[in-house]
Symmetry: C2
Subunit: 195 residues, 2 copies
DNA sequence: TGACGATCTTAACTTGGGTTAAGAATATAG
DNA sequence: CTATATTCTTAACCCAAGTTAAGATCGTCA
């Protein structure tokens, strides 16, 4: 499959974008490769693009003023959308950094073109709504992980639900995502060997 | 001001709903009072109504299978929307309970009527989008509170940003919302006296 | 393959929340 | 205005995560 076909297929799966609707969007998608550590969007920048990950893993992280260290907020991997959602929909500066953690390839579309598509087709309107719901679910899941689960439970769920991320990301980044320090994650892993 | 005028004003503030658009919706709004402890929506029920709180405080909470105790997820108070958002937009059973914590008064609208309004007016379409954004912000803020702040910081921010809630809710419910036990909140409060 | 840098684990100690149960303070109703 | 229920605080003990620094392991590239 060509990259365009992959995108077509994925958009159809995600939001029922049909061949005609995809045709409308075809001229707008651009391709970009990211080096490891390259930013998708930076702190204080307005996010103008919505990206579809063909390959690679991205993370968005927060830099704490006091503690000065990075806290991972979201991971995004292959066949997922990468976007600084709030910044993108409100076109306001972002509070986070979003960077590529590996060599990555992305197809992306500009917000103006997306807005244009919203007006042209119900399929794309539905896509917009589903991206909104996805963003909400992402945020809500994150809140629930912290409100209802222990670090150990969060760790197990990550391995279960996102082995692709677990297998491609250093443990100290996993720890940060789980809301704990690297030594704590080591202890959790050690404790679990007995089970 | 009559209750309808209050609603009209609030909808205009929130989403720029103009007089004509409000007129369209007027026949659909219903009024209901809730006794303390009465449910707005229950676990496993599909949330069919979006409510506007004229007076009172609501909470949504989660019941943990293991620990068996309630965990407060959101508070909603006067002049805010109360709705089990995910259940409402997807019309699927809710994972939470949402109940009134005080005597409350609500104006509510059925999802079918709201969908009807979306088709009839751009003002109402915008309203729908803004409710979606509000829900996202609520969830994202909650995630951020847990990812980036200590329990003490969360406590201070709650007092700062939501004194109305702080003043109308027992401390053990605040503790649950902050993700800690009541004795821990007492310790935090004691620690803070010195500052 | 050998050396360097990156990553992961471990140890020792500190800190803060969890748990349980008792008691103090506050509200509420009779 | 007392009795009762509700809410809040305190105490004592436990346990998990934070912190810091050292050492082990792993990868990579010259």
């Amino acid at each position: 499959m060509t990259e365009t076909q992959i995108l077509n297929y994925a958009l159809n799966q995600f939001a029922g974008i049909d061949a005609d609707a995809f045709e409308l969007s075809a001229p707008y998608w651009q391709r970009k490769t990211y080096a490891k550590g390259e930013f998708y969007n930076e702190y204080k920048n307005v996010c103008k693009y919505l990206g579809f990950i063909l390959d690679g893993v991205f993370r968005t992280y927060y830099i704490d003023d006091d503690s000065a260290d990075e806290k991972n907020v979201f991971f995004y991997s292959k066949n997922q959308v990468v976007v600084a959602y709030k910044s993108f929909v409100t076109q306001t500066p972002c509070s986070y950094y979003t960077e590529s953690m590996t060599e990555s390839t992305v197809l992306y579309i500009h917000i103006n073109h997306l807005n244009e598509l919203y007006g042209k087709s119900h399929d794309w309107e539905r896509f917009g709504r589903l991206v909104a719901e996805t963003a909400f679910n992402l945020a809500m899941n994150r809140a629930e992980q912290f409100m209802f689960r222990t670090p150990e439970q969060r760790y197990l769920e990550l391995i279960q639900n996102h082995p692709d991320i677990f297998n491609n990301v250093p443990l100290y980044h996993i720890a940060s995502y789980l809301g704990i320090q690297a030594p704590s994650l080591s202890r959790i892993r050690k404790r679990m060997v007995g089970k």
